[in-house]
Amino acid sequence: MVVKVYGPIKAACPQRVLSCLLEKDVDFQVVHLHLDAGDHKKPDFLLRQPFGQVPAIEDGDFKLFESRAIIRYYATKYENRGPNLLGNSLEEKAVVDQWLEVEAHNFNDLVYNLVLQLVILPRMGKQGDSALALTCQQKLDKVFDIYEQRLSASAYLAGDSFTLADLSHQPGIRYLVEDAGMGHLVSQRKHVNAWWETISNRPAWKKLMKLASD
């Protein structure tokens, strides 16, 4: 039975889930939603995700939403298949969780707002707030300084293996580098750059990028 993933394949939060499913070789079907037509705010979707956001998943009769909860579920369910995305010991798992929280609280909002102002609003024919974009960029600079320091001590955020903590950053960094013209935030930092090169060249991520461009 395939996992149904509701949401556009090009959107960041569905990509977080799809990257995880591809890493774990879990069959899925993307059920596309037209966000500009408000599909995600319609009553039948709100039954799946009461906050009207993508993604939501349906796995047989089991339904979930919130991308970071979904990836934790599948990383646990298929712990012994494919790469170990969680860590082994209680302590290692806590450190993975910690950096997932960092992505959610110290990284995501800045990237979201930056991309909204520089990419999404202009695409919709609206004026982005360049002052807000600059503030986000300056704060993101400081966050990447911390990542640089961290990644000088270990190859990945939570240690020496690729985990959910790294995976969770893939969609946001792709937006920064490829759509928002903010690639220098990554390329100017030796260890962050090497880390991004590595995680963006993972077969699962490359397969997702191909699917998203088809």
Binding site: F51, F62, L90, Q98, L100, E101, A104
Partner: protein, 219 residues
Amino acid sequence: MTIKLYGITMSTCTAKVLACLHEHGAEFELVPVNLQNGEHKQPAFLAKNPFGQIPALEDGHLTLFESRAISAYVAEKFKGSGCDLLRSQNPKEAAVVKTWMEVESQQFSPAISPIFYQSIIVPILYGGTPNQTIIDESSVKLGKVLDVYEKKLNSSKYLAGDFYSLADLHHLTYIYYLMKTPYGKLINERPRVKAWWEDISSRPAFKKVAAGLTLGDKN
């Protein structure tokens, strides 16, 4: 070796972890961090949390930051003590707990924290005037989130099911402070949310923590 938690009792994020530690009867030492003196931005603390935020936890060789990661670690480590806040033996229940933990993190907190900041932090710590526009906009957002909770709590006693979990616990400290402001009405106006709040805030573990949530109290 005892767990050390670095933070202060009146901080919402520190208190979140304190509530979890108390639920499990875990032994720990609270090490105060002097925020007024900027201790959290000094090298010794930045070595524990490079983002310079409280709380941070030390347990043997492990150092952790991010309150939700810390509380999840505590819940997992002490799950045998009669308290099962993560439901980790049942993967689907555990996933639903994680979902509502993410809801607290991604929907609830961004809506409530500006109300907390403007109505408590700004006047009390900075002697400033609350920005009513921000409060009003955030109140609308929080109202919509709580409408979802009201509906959810129609079908289960707690957010993730008929069991108290970390998803409920993570809401305690912000709501406690909200109830000290006029915006507590957002909770009181919704009968199931109100009943849920009265239930979770009456837990003995939280009452120990609430005693320390003293911001806004008149001396």
